[in-house]
């Protein structure tokens, strides 16, 4: 390497250390806030995460659409590359892993024997009709494979509404008899942390992972969701709530009231029935459905595809009374 190259290298390395450190601290501070802690807790979280072997994560895909994985790719704090290079060791994830076939299976086996254990994340529901033949991975039914992997994990996260409660494929008449991870693992006595949403906000995933690593299991609600992220309704945190309180409703999507950002309650918004942090966490760091004029469809609630549908109806037509 020539002298110039060495000079550039030294400077770049110094920059790199600085930048990584800053990014890392920023990330920890962000996580602290997402977890409802003071931002100053960030330094404490950073100390807890640093210097350790990266925790192993095994990420399985069941009956799903990969939207949850896609949501994870949209992470900013930290960026996805920081997550998988500097925060966790993503030892199995079919969507991004380099290995395929036997080599992928070997990576799974190796990760499952990791002396430090591993966390299991499952995206997607589990088909159970006819013994599970409606969904197979490597000749093994998802039901059998996931039971094996989750059964030995230190902790199980059900990523998204399908893994949490069955999701879209479990909507009536549930042709493949798909069920959520919690229902499937019940015989093993395992209760996953549910992170529902279609997709869930990736911030809730990172916050949960960091909570697990630094403080243990977060407090869950009766639907298995961390109260940190799912403790309040969308309605209670909605930026259009003042319009609701004043009785200012948009009655059609073409109306002046819709243009003016009035409450979408009478256009079918399911925000009052939906526990999630969309209004504060935002999607893609820029907006969320109601801000963009679209009523909430209740995508983090168990059974929402049937129980909160039809979506394009005023709630009163369902016989509900808000």
């Amino acid at each position: 390497m020539n002298a110039l190259a060495q000079l550039v290298a030294r400077r770049a390395e110094a920059e790199e250390r600085g930048v990584s450190r800053r990014d890392f601290l920023k990330f920890c501070g962000m996580v602290a806030v997402a977890m409802g802690l003071e931002a100053s807790m960030g330094a404490q979280i950073a100390r807890a995460l640093e210097g350790k072997k990266k925790p192993s994560v095994i990420y399985m895909h069941g009956a799903e659409c990969t939207g949850c994985t896609e949501a994870l790719l949209r992470l900013v704090d930290p960026y996805f590359d920081v997550l998988i290079m500097e925060v966790v060791s993503l030892d199995y994830c079919e969507t991004v892993m380099a290995a395929a076939g036997h080599a992928a299976h070997a990576a799974l086996q190796k990760a499952m024997k990791n002396p430090g254990g591993y966390f299991c994340v499952i995206e997607g529901a589990i088909p159970t009709r006819d013994g599970g033949v409606y969904g197979q991975v490597g000749g093994q039914t998802m039901l059998s494979l996931f039971t094996e992997v989750a059964g030995k994990a230190k902790g199980v996260i059900a990523m998204g509404s399908c893994a949490s409660y069955g999701g879209i494929q479990a909507a009536a008449p549930n042709p493949s008899k798909a069920i959520g991870v919690g229902a499937a693992l019940k015989p093993l006595g395992i209760a996953p942390i549910n992170l529902p949403g279609c997709p869930p906000n990736p911030v809730n995933f990172v916050g949960t992972v960091v909570h697990l690593l630094t403080k243990g299991l977060p407090e869950l609600d009766t639907s298995g969701r961390p109260k940190l992220f799912y403790g309040k309704t969308v309605h209670d945190m909605c930026e259009r709530r003042p319009h609701f309180d004043k009785g200012e409703f948009a009655l059609t999507f073409s109306s002046q009231q819709a243009r003016d950002g009035w409450c979408l309650h009478k256009l079918g918004c399911r925000g009052p029935w939906t526990y999630n942090n969309c209004p504060t966490a935002l999607f893609n760091q820029t907006t969320w459905p109601v801000r963009s004029g679209a009523p909430c469809i209740g995508c983090s609630e168990p059974g929402f595809w049937d129980q909160l549908a039809p979506f394009n109806r005023d709630v009163r037509e369902k016989g509900d009374d808000a």
Partner: protein, 549 residues
């Protein structure tokens, strides 16, 4: 070990870096694939689930067919219902839909190339041997924009630290580890690709963010509805400026880095531009003029054989789905309006039923659909920008026109399409901005659902020709069929035993190292499988050795 004379069967299960679960099982004779089957392994039954639901609600459900092409199913469903109602959305709403679809396609192409496909060509471990200064020089030369050596030092240092820490995570057990004869980039080329792999993770986040400004969120947009779109908020000047800034940044990456990386690959892997061939090509039209509904920017059609210059128009009445090799109750080939989805799992039998996928055919023939099909059709129709950019890439890589019909051609077509589409986005954005400046913009029109109707939505999505077909009875969804690109590309044989596009393309693939058959991955990945299900590609072949990898 390289084993050019390998004869036998190879199973790769699961194929990773795709949407869904995939299994490949091929027969290899003297180091060359001579037969293959493709079989999807997951049935979710969305078409059954939407029966009886309000037609205007269906787009929410079918959007969840896929979280990668996400919004395309929603848009196609909305188009089908609007078609059934004889409804036309306001022009500004169509412009917003164009911007959502265009950013989605480009986002998808980028993630596909870098995060699902590039590890088939790039040996990340070998990048540690690179001289970052030389790599920066190379990157500047192929990308046409100055790359600072410091940037590549940072990546180099980070990769080194990552590898030396001993936890390889998502790179563990990669086919390239320890060297592989089919990986042939220099250390500097590998470093450039690896750096762009990381950079593209951040760029894709920005394209998705740009899309979310109009879509409400990404993945799974929520602002598109039957009747128009709801995102009045996105028409504010500061929001349009936010979109424009994100768009410009992403466009620069595509025009320089993405293009440069495909040049590196095209030069280094001429053999990948010689295999992976299919026979026929088809795609739909899209991005019609928002005012007239005519003059599509993507003009669909059919190209038979490799007869460049002879694209013909598409007749949707000629689409049929065959059932005889899928796990469905038997029935004759049916047009999607009359299609039946009645599952009947009978176990895997390559001579009989072997897939959850139906087999769509056009005039009874298997066709490939997607970016390569679209660019070949555009090329055949004399569309200048496609011809110029395709020819420029071929010339830069010293390849010939016939090399377009290949695995590498498929991968390069996505890059060319991204460049062309991003150029066009500017015009749509300007148009929308002008309308917003001129006064209140109509984004939504009221509609009335008919009691009885039928409709179809066509969409030229990332992976090809997508169509949704709806029959409405008593104001509800009576029948719904989705014919998706990956069914065209990765479905099973048809009633007459003719193989699908991917089954054709695997035949003739070399396999240098049967323990690490990266060539098979290259070809299967080049279709960007997105099937929310798994695919078997299984060989029929006789009494050869059987090797499960």
């Amino acid at each position: 070990m390289a084993d050019k004379a390998y004869t036998g069967r190879i199973v790769v299960d699961p194929v990773t870096r795709i949407e869904g679960h995939l299994k490949i099982d091929v027969s290899v004779k003297n180091g060359v694939v001579d037969n293959a089957w493709s079989s999807t392994q997951l049935f979710r039954g969305l078409e059954i689930i939407v029966k009886g639901r309000p037609p205007e609600d269906v787009h929410n459900y079918v959007q969840r067919a896929c979280g990668v092409c996400t919004t395309t199913h929603s848009l196609t469903s909305i188009r089908a219902v609007e078609n059934a109602m004889g409804f036309k959305a306001p022009p500004a709403a169509e412009l917003v839909r164009h911007l959502i679809l265009a950013t989605l396609i480009v986002h998808d192409h980028l993630v596909h190339f870098y995060h699902l496909h590039s590890l088939d060509f790039c040996d990340v471990a070998n990048a540690l041997k690179a001289d970052p200064v030389a790599a920066a020089k190379l990157a500047s030369q192929v990308s046409g924009r100055e790359v600072a050596p410091g940037d590549l030092f940072v990546v180099h240092g980070r990769l080194k630290k990552f590898v030396e820490a001993g936890q390889l995570g998502w790179l563990d057990n990669a086919y390239f580890l320890g060297g592989h004869p089919a990986y042939r980039l220099s250390p500097e080329e590998n470093l450039v690709l690896a750096a762009n792999y990381i950079e593209a993770l951040r760029v894709q986040m920005k394209i998705a963010k740009a899309m979310a400004i109009f879509a409400g969120k990404n993945p799974h947009s929520q602002t598109m509805r039957v009747g128009g779109v709801t995102c009045y908020e996105a028409l504010r000047p500061e929001r349009l400026a936010e979109f424009r800034a994100l768009y410009e940044e992403c466009r620069a990456f595509i025009n320089h880095n993405y293009l440069g990386d495909l040049t590196i690959l095209g030069r280094r892997y001429p053999e990948v531009a010689a295999y992976g061939r299919t026979t026929n090509y088809m795609d739909f039209s899209d991005f019609h003029d928002p005012e007239t509904g005519k003059d599509p920017f993507f003009r669909g059609g059919v190209l038979w054989g490799h007869a460049i210059g002879k694209a013909e128009d598409l007749d949707p009445a000629q689409i049929q789905e065959h059932l005889s090799r899928g796990w469905y109750k038997p029935g004759p080939p049916a047009h999607p309006y009359d299609g039946v989805t009645d599952p009947d799992y009978t176990g895997y039998d390559p001579d009989g039923h072997y897939s959850w996928s139906k087999a769509p055919r056009y005039k009874g023939e298997a066709v490939e659909t997607g970016a390569l099909a679209r660019r070949l059709i555009a090329y055949s129709r004399g569309e200048k920008e496609t011809i110029t950019r395709m020819d420029a890439w071929l010339a830069a890589c010293k390849l010939k026109q016939e090399n377009l019909f290949s695995t590498m051609g498929r991968t390069a077509a996505r890059m060319v399409e991204s460049v062309i589409l991003m150029n066009r986005v500017q015009g749509w954005l300007n148009d929308l901005e002008d309308r917003a400046k001129a006064g209140p913009v109509e984004l939504y029109r009221e509609w009335k659902m008919p009691d009885e109707a039928k409709g179809v939505g066509f969409c030229a999505v990332t992976r090809g020709a997508l169509s949704h077909w709806i029959r409405i009875e008593k104001g509800k969804t009576a029948n719904y069929q989705m014919v998706v690109p990956s069914t065209w590309n990765l479905g099973p044989r048809c009633d007459k035993g003719k193989p699908s596009a991917v089954e054709q393309s695997l035949m003739g693939n070399p396999v240098l190292d049967p323990d690490r058959p990266v060539e098979l991955l290259r070809t299967v990945h080049s279709f960007d499988p997105c099937i929310a299900c798994s695919v078997h590609v299984v060989h029929a072949g006789g009494k050869r050795s059987f090797r499960i990898l």
